[in-house]
């Protein structure tokens, strides 16, 4: 089994022209699944998620040489991914001229259109419940619940104070619980 290099090592290799591509490929492999699921939970659709994830890593390729190591690489990657998702959602809204509520119901419809969708199963109810949340609460809940991100790291991703994030997560969890209990 090949030992996975640390972010610091990968960044050092990335700065060397001879090992730049290899280092980048390793970074992609290291983070692709975590970022994919973060994006997928936001966008629901696989093709949309694939497009956005490619855009995320292309941005990373272009900007990684200027990345300062005072922040963690994965925090920086989540920040880019989250912004790309929100930009994508915004573009979809503009393209379809629909309101945020209509878009959320559209995402719910996508969930229910999934061939594996089972309304009796809690995990599917949870996905429907998440789509009922306001955009910001949805991101906070998913980063905390699925990615188990500490508040101080989340604070760097979302440019919001840890206290505000805590409150937001609290509201989100309560709403989701109510939704599951009532559906």
């Amino acid at each position: 089994m090949v030992e996975q290099k640390s972010d610091t090592e990968l960044l050092a290799l990335f700065r060397e022209p001879a090992t730049k591509e290899k280092a980048f490929t390793e970074i992609v492999k290291k983070y692709q699944e975590r970022l994919y699921w973060h994006i997928r939970r936001m966008l629901v659709d696989h093709e949309d998620s694939n497009d956005v994830m490619q855009n995320v890593f292309i941005r990373v390729w272009n900007a990684l040489s200027g990345f300062r190591e005072d922040a963690q690489l994965y925090t920086w990657l989540y920040r880019i991914a989250t912004n790309e998702c929100l930009t994508f959602i915004d573009q979809q809204k503009k393209k379809a001229s629909v309101s945020l509520n209509e878009l959320e119901s559209g995402l719910s419809n996508k969930i229910m259109a999934d061939r594996d969708f089972d309304a009796s199963k809690l995990e599917w109810k949870l996905q429907l419940a998440i789509q009922q949340l306001p955009e910001k609460q949805r991101v906070v809940f998913m980063l905390r619940y699925y990615d188990e991100m500490p508040y101080d790291e989340m604070s760097k991703v979302l440019d919001t104070s840890a206290g505000a994030l805590k409150a937001s997560y609290h509201h989100a969890a309560k709403k989701i619980e109510d939704f599951i209990l009532n559906h």
Binding site: T25, W37, R40, D114, E123, Q127, Y145, A173
Partner: protein
């Protein structure tokens, strides 16, 4: 280790907020991913990066080719027309182009030179301005003459003047008879016979009546 602690903290936190969200039961995401998606993702991504780098490294050349080359342009718009471009349906008699030079003597004797004559722009302009100035002067003079120097027939004008007005005019003090001028004029324009002819239709009474109206000195003139 830190991650494990965080995980426990998060679970504890969640159970405090929403006990019914049993994390262990529903934390699985139910979405499916196509088989092999993650295995080839990094390679597909690098291919895309290489392709985009190739496009962006020569953006001007690519754009220039499409815009400046008529062949590339028509290939993009209508590939069928691009293929037909070099098929010529018209026929030219054999040796036409070879004999073309001989058929045009001017081409044969006088090869083309870049030397050209310049048209006399200044002279042409000068002539134009001179003609225009003449026309303006002619029109101006004519208008001036018509306005300020009307030439009319004095005999006709006198016919419109009544005898009374004429008499008043002749009696007015504004007229200064100059005997010399009067005599010379008479001697030039009228002879004795002319005067006799003019007065032949006038009766003696009328002449005497007219003579009586004249001042003393004028009666002696004639």
């Amino acid at each position: 280790m830190k991650l494990m602690e965080t995980s426990k903290e998060i679970l504890t936190e969640l159970l405090e907020i929403a006990p019914n969200l049993g994390k262990t039961a529903i934390s699985r995401v139910p979405y499916a991913v196509p088989n092999g998606f993650f295995e080839g993702f990094a390679e597909r991504l690098m291919n895309r990066i290489h392709m985009e780098a190739a496009v962006y490294s020569e953006p001007d050349i690519g754009q220039q080719n499409a815009e400046d080359s008529p062949l590339l342009e028509i290939e993009e718009i209508a590939p069928l027309l691009a293929g037909l471009k070099n098929i010529n349906t018209y026929q030219v008699p054999a040796g036409y182009f070879e004999s073309l030079e001989a058929k045009i003597p001017a081409l044969e004797s006088k090869p083309f030179t870049a030397e050209t004559k310049q048209a006399p722009v200044f002279n042409l302009k000068f002539v134009k301005y001179a003609v225009a100035a003449c026309i303006v002067a002619l029109l101006g003079t004519s208008i001036f003459n018509l306005t300020y120097h009307k030439t009319t027939d004095p005999i006709k004008d006198l016919a419109t003047v009544s005898d009374r007005d004429m008499a008043n005019y002749l009696d007015s003090d504004d007229i200064h008879w100059a005997p010399g001028i009067a005599n010379s004029s008479a001697s030039i324009d009228f002879s004795e016979n002319d005067v006799h002819d003019l007065l032949s239709t006038v009766s003696d009474d009328e002449l005497e009546q007219y003579s009586a109206t004249l001042p003393e000195e004028k009666r002696n003139v004639n």
